[in-house]
């Protein structure tokens, strides 16, 4: 009788990749980037609402991971360590933006294709092949409203809700990334949800 396969330990695999990256193994670096680029880029894009800046910051996260590989010590989960880097870069960028007066190079064009999704590009739209035009319109509007509502949250609450809802982090993992307690994390999430519930109440009614 065959023994059941051991469940894949993603964290152990990431740590093994880090050891190989420390030995200048580029295939290991590629594998790590491909594995985590979705969550890293997606989280940063949700946090900043700017896909161009999110690309730059996401690359910088992986550059930091690469440069830290020779001295990396697996004392904690790799995922939470990686997202601590994400948090630091995003919060620094947020503070830099709050000090600077930003003028967009390209003013938003409401008539061009794909720009109706607001701050995020059209390629981020969910599959709409089976939706009628009115459903598509509602979908676009809801997506813009959700992204705008998330961007209005304070940065700690914003990151907490993104990590919880989109990255499916546990309370403990979020607490580790935010360097706070589990109860404080739950409080952050509760307040974020209350705020979002108020802002998005109309859309919640439509979902009933």
């Amino acid at each position: 009788m065959k023994e059941p396969l051991a469940p894949f330990d993603s964290d152990a695999h990431d740590k093994r990749l880090m050891l190989r990256i420390a030995d200048e193994d580029e295939d290991a670096l590629r594998e790590l980037v491909e594995k985590h680029q979705g969550t890293v880029y997606g989280t940063i894009a949700k946090m900043l609402g700017d896909p161009i800046e999110a690309q730059d910051l996401a690359q910088r996260v992986f550059v930091r991971i690469y440069r830290a590989a020779p001295t990396y010590r697996a004392t904690a989960q790799f995922k939470t360590w990686m997202f601590t880097i994400v948090r630091n870069l995003v919060f620094n960028e947020h503070r830099r933006r709050s000090r600077a007066t930003l003028v967009p190079l390209h003013p938003p064009d409401g008539e061009s294709a794909g720009a109706s999704t607001g701050p995020l590009p059209a390629l981020d739209l969910p599959d709409t092949a089976h939706k009628s035009p009115s459903e598509q319109l509602l979908q676009d509007e809801m997506m813009r409203a959700v992204n705008a509502a998330i961007l209005e949250l304070p940065e700690q609450q914003r990151l907490a809700i993104i990590l919880r809802r989109y990255d499916e982090f546990s309370y403990e993992e979020i607490a580790e990334v935010l360097k706070t307690s589990v109860s404080a994390t739950k409080s952050l999430l509760f307040r974020a949800r209350e705020t979002l519930r108020g802002v998005l109440s109309d859309y919640m009614e439509n979902q009933r």
Binding site: R67, S183, S187, Q207
Partner: protein, 116 residues
């Protein structure tokens, strides 16, 4: 903590909010993200590990230098020893020569005396 005093939202609203939030999925990076990231990692090596580090070079030269000094010291010691031995042999030879010549001189003189 504050969290323990907050009322738990009803499950229905919880699911509804999650459903609404799901209407704005996480954006995906473009197809070139991995390639650009790898290139940026490669070019970000101001502290890249060189093929030969200064520490490695220094250690090599230090070991070679100490070894050379030891060899030189041993060589000098051998030279000094050989030189000392040569001088000692020369002294011994000279002493032997002096002894022999003295013996010869004495024997000459005694012959002369006996002849008188």
């Amino acid at each position: 903590m504050n969290g323990s005093h907050q009322p738990t939202p009803p499950p229905e609203d919880f699911d509804l909010l999650d459903r609404v939030l799901g209407a704005a999925p996480m954006p995906e990076p473009d197809a070139w993200f991995t390639a650009r990231t790898l290139a940026r990692c490669r070019s970000s090596q101001p502290t890249a590990r060189p093929a030969i580090s200064w520490g490695y070079l220094w250690r090599r030269w230090a070991v070679a230098g100490v070894f050379t000094l030891c060899l030189a010291g041993f060589g000098l010691q051998q030279l000094h020893r050989n030189h000392t031995l040569r001088i000692h042999h020369q002294h011994s030879a000279q002493e032997a020569f002096e002894v022999i010549s003295k013996v010869d001189t004495d024997s000459d003189l005694s012959w002369q005396d006996s002849s008188l």
